[in-house]
């Protein structure tokens, strides 16, 4: 068991505004121990070989049938799967819990590649609402536009959209990074709790509304700041990290990241007080 108390010294993540609290023992941390590997078995995860490649045409399949077929192929060790004719179908490629190269030759509907943990996904088209919702780890690249609730509640991994995204991008985000090459709609980063969002274009109204923590970087114009979202100065750590991240995302070549606006939580919401709501009322 790891030491539950961290040092008082600010970590690099804290200096970038990712989080500010110091763990005091309320949070349990458990690190991976090879001797306990059997306890970390992931039911439904497979050992796959990236060099073993196949195509799957889902034109005449519904989403359940298509997902069952993907699962079957992974169980046979296929590590690179190309999905043909997705044609905007909902809930394709969900619940994949192992490493995998998954390529969609077309667009996805709602809830595409949700609840994944590990795969590398490329969508050569657009995605509908709630793409990669609850993603734990991996990398998802969308070549065209994305709908609303892009990366809702993701916990980790990189989620990249090279086009525009709709409203509420990164709503309830709890970790990971969302990168958008174009514009984003209203309520971007709504109630986000951790993680980072990078928008190279403009964003709509109520940016970072009610965000608890985390950081949002915006390259273009901001419609308006949401409740408790405030601007924060860019640090060298921010600039270095942004350069590296954009390079990996194949986005923003020649983009001057030092001119981006950094937005963090002002932490003025009542639930940051030590006071209970009833006590707060009395104090007012």
């Amino acid at each position: 068991m790891a030491n539950l108390k961290t040092s008082e010294k600010k970590t690099k993540a804290q200096s970038m505004g990712l989080h500010s609290e110091v763990l005091t023992g309320k949070t349990q941390q458990k690190f991976f121990n090879p001797d306990e590997a059997e306890n970390f078995f992931y039911w439904g995860a497979y050992d796959v070989d990236f060099n073993k490649r196949t195509d799957l045409d889902v034109k005449d399949m519904d989403c359940k049938e298509a997902n069952r077929n993907i699962d079957e192929l992974m169980s046979q060790g296929y590590g690179t799967i190309v999905i043909k004719n997705p044609q905007g179908k909902h809930s394709l490629g969900v619940g994949i819990l192992n490493k995998l190269n998954l390529i969609f030759e077309g667009s996805l509907g709602y809830f595409g590649v949700g609840s994944i943990d590990g795969p590398m996904v490329r969508v050569n088209g657009r995605v509908g609402w709630s793409c990669a919702e609850n993603m734990m780890a991996g990398k998802v690249v969308i070549e065209k536009n994305a709908g609303s609730c892009f990366g809702a509640a993701i916990r980790g991994g990189d989620l990249i959209c090279k086009g525009m995204v709709g409203a509420r991008t990164g709503i309830d985000q709890k970790g990971g990074t969302i990168i958008v090459g174009g514009d984003a709609g209203a309520f971007t980063g709504f109630m986000m709790q951790r993680g980072r969002i990078i928008i190279l274009g403009d964003v709509g109204i109520n940016l970072g509304d009610s965000m608890y923590d985390g950081t949002i970087y915006v390259g273009g114009k901001i419609g308006s700041f949401g409740s408790d979202a405030v601007e924060s100065p860019m640090t060298k750590s921010d600039i270095d990290w942004l350069k590296r991240k954009l390079k990996v995302a194949e986005l923003g070549e020649n983009f001057d990241v030092s001119k981006m606006t950094k937005v963090v939580s002002g932490k003025k919401l009542w639930n940051y007080d030590a006071l209970e709501p009833t006590e707060k009322k009395g104090a007012i």
Binding site: Q87, G88, G109, G125, G128, G166, D183, G185, G204, I205
Partner: protein, 313 residues
């Protein structure tokens, strides 16, 4: 949750009846209760088409009742007498179901007064009046309604439609979409969402002489826009005004004789996917609606919050 779909061919006609049927059928899971079509058909443009019903087709939760066909016959006679009294010259009439009719007629006077007189007959509702608008709505999915009313071969330039999941009112025709923009010819509206200031707006508009036929909140959009246009606003001005005037969450489409528009509320809470090219605009609550008529790879996007767009044919 409801599903909406619309398309406009710019510079040519197409088989919009069949196209919209496919789009709405793809959205059936969003609204299985009733389906409605507003087709802007290739008519000669000389005469008015009036679609009306003299009774209801009743489903779950409706306050209306199904009646005997003889009752419908009596009401039809009353409508015919009223048309003669108002000076309308009926050129052709079709009875599509026991309770719904399509009349082709000549009429040159005020449509609002005309509509009020016709609708003063018990249980009679004008679904639409227009020189190209054909508004059809009934219970069932898109295929069922299309077959019942023979819409598969209707050619035209543009169309909007709606697959309804009844939440705010019962399952019947009067609460189904699209809604006619009474008293304007060739104006129709479909909506996905909920309006929270329905009663306040309804009271205000009723005091100004506008009429509501149902208790469905979506009807407010049609009446709201009609009232704005009655006072001289263009369609686009009325739609932009509605973003502040209507409270709640909504994405809606409006169609007129020669245009098609969309508006999305400022919270962008309701979905819309849009495909736009030089000769075709197609949009729907989900991409699968567009894919049902354009299976090839296309570029689509979600309009942003508070966005209003209008296209001409």
């Amino acid at each position: 949750m409801c599903g909406i779909a619309g398309l406009i061919h710019r510079g040519k006609s197409s088989n919009v009846g069949s196209e919209l049927q496919h789009m709405l059928q793809a959205l059936k899971h969003r609204g299985p209760d009733s389906t409605g079509y507003a087709l802007y058909a290739e008519n000669d443009g000389q005469n008015f088409i009036m679609r009306f019903k003299v009774g209801e087709n009743v489903g779950e939760g409706s306050t209306s009742v199904n009646e005997d066909a003889s009752v419908y016959d009596k009401r039809k006679k009353l409508v015919d007498n009223m048309l003669t009294e108002l000076g309308a010259n009926v050129l052709k009439e079709d009875r599509l179901t026991p309770y719904s009719f399509r009349y082709e007629m000549q009429f040159n006077n005020d449509l609002m007064e005309f509509s009020k007189k016709i609708e003063s007959i018990e249980s009679v509702e004008i679904l639409s009046i227009g020189k190209s608008l054909e508004l059809i709505k009934d219970l069932g999915d898109a295929e069922t309604v299309s077959e019942r009313y023979g819409l598969g071969n209707v050619k035209g330039t543009h169309a909007i439609g709606h697959a309804r999941m009844a939440t705010e009112s019962g399952v019947d025709i009067k609460s189904a979409h699209p809604f006619w923009g009474y008293p304007f010819s060739d104006v129709s509206v479909v909506h996905n969402g909920q309006l929270t200031n329905y009663w306040n707006n309804r009271r205000l508009l009723e005091n100004k002489g506008m009429r509501f036929m149902s208790e469905c909140d979506s009807e407010l959009i049609a009446v709201y826009l009609a009232e704005k246009m009655r006072n001289g606003a263009t369609l686009e001005e009325g739609m932009k005004d509605s973003l502040a005037g209507l409270d709640g969450v909504f994405t809606y489409f409006v169609a007129t004789k020669d245009s098609l528009g969309m508006a999305k509320d400022t919270m962008a809470a309701k979905p819309l996917v849009l495909y736009e090219s030089d000769d075709l605009v197609a949009m729907g609550s989900e991409e699968i609606a567009i894919r049902s008529i354009l299976p090839q790879e296309i570029d689509t996007y979600d309009p942003f919050d508070g966005e209003v767009k209008v296209w001409q044919i």
